[in-house]
Amino acid sequence: MIYFDHAATSFPKPPEVVEAARRFLESGGASPGRGSYPGAIDSGMLLCEIRERLAARFGLRDPMRVIFGLNATDALNLAIAGTLDPGDHAITTALEHNSVIRPLKELERRRGVSVTVLPVRPGEALDPADVAAAIAPRTRALVVNHGSNSFGTVLPLRELGALCRARGLTFIVDAAQTAGVVPVSIDEDGVDLLAFSGHKALMGPMGTGALLLADSFDSARLQPLRVGGTGSQSERLLAPDFLPDRFECGTPNMPGLAGLHAALGLDTSGLADHKRRLVRRFMDRALASVPGIAFYVPSDRLQTGAVSFNLAGRTPSAVARALSERADIACRPGLQCSPLSHRSAGTFPQGTVRFSFGWRNTDAEIETAVAALAEVARGGPTP
């Protein structure tokens, strides 16, 4: 199989990641923070070291402000539903994944939260003046997609962060597509709440993710969505007020986090350049030899390793099916859970075919894909 679906999850995982998860299941295995025997301490140490690594990578001083969760969606739900009260107003963009817009729309329906969606096209920056103009008396948060999962573009954060600091808004950033491939500094970019998955460009296992709370963010402004056993203050019937226990309860996904720990120890310094080079190569080769192929953003604006395209006269699903059947290529057709960005790009409702490249992809695989696409483009009708 030629795997071009790294924006969904990186695959295969590096052998060090697989080995770390296996080793934990075979010879670690204890729940952290729930006992003082060596295995429980080892698990606690491992968890603490992952927090320290993530804090260092994203410009956070206090590792206890790393809150583990299931994935980026889980972290975004905590960030969004945990900060917005009835009557509050939030600003977001027309580039959002459903992991942002659906929580916001649910709150609009259930809590009377109001939402402003600012227009912006993939590859463009969001003008801080537009954000400022949308701020109302009850505006509490700006929620933005750092990297578009459909189009591979990146939204500059720093000016938006500065605006949020100046106007007292909580700046929530969805870094699902950028964590591990585009640098983000909570401190320098002015981010308050940063959400990401561990299983995409960070190359850990599925079921890992985190919400990072800026050192300057008052954690009392965030309410937990889940409460339960934390191994701390067990005599109390209310959840603890301190971090990370306030937002983490139950047994964490330790095998997955052990894998993430190993992934964070890998040298991935060349990953971003590798992905971008493959995107450029694919676009150059396809434009030269695939009739009717259309891209939506210039290659110099694509930073995450994802690229969207269509073939004239073919639906995305038909192209993806043909690529799978003819060349065993795994890719993602349609709206990629990001209908807003496709409306912005003019590709709604059919969407696009998305290729998203990763660490194991090669030039030879690009050549195979281009040849297969040319065959599909020149061939007869597809389903």
Partner: protein, 76 residues
């Protein structure tokens, strides 16, 4: 370490105790994680045990790094 020369640092959370142990280790202060003494706290997690002579320096190191802790007590 002899029993009469030991102190325990109590924490609100095992997460903090483990972080503290890592911070103290990096600062070259000998310390070990022990079960929280039941007569000092109802916590079900960890405390950090260390030499009494190191307790003040340890408390300073934890405060400087921002590690939250409850208090320092004589070890049982």
């Amino acid at each position: 370490m002899t029993a009469d020369a030991l102190r325990v640092i109590l924490f609100f959370s095992s997460n903090h105790a483990i972080w503290a142990a890592r911070v103290l280790d990096r600062r070259g202060i000998a310390a070990r994680l022990v079960p929280t003494p039941r007569h000092l706290s109802s916590e079900c997690g960890h405390a950090v045990e260390l030499r009494a002579a190191d307790a003040a320096r340890a408390a300073e190191a934890l405060a400087a790094r921002g590690v939250p802790f409850d208090r320092v007590e004589e070890a049982p």
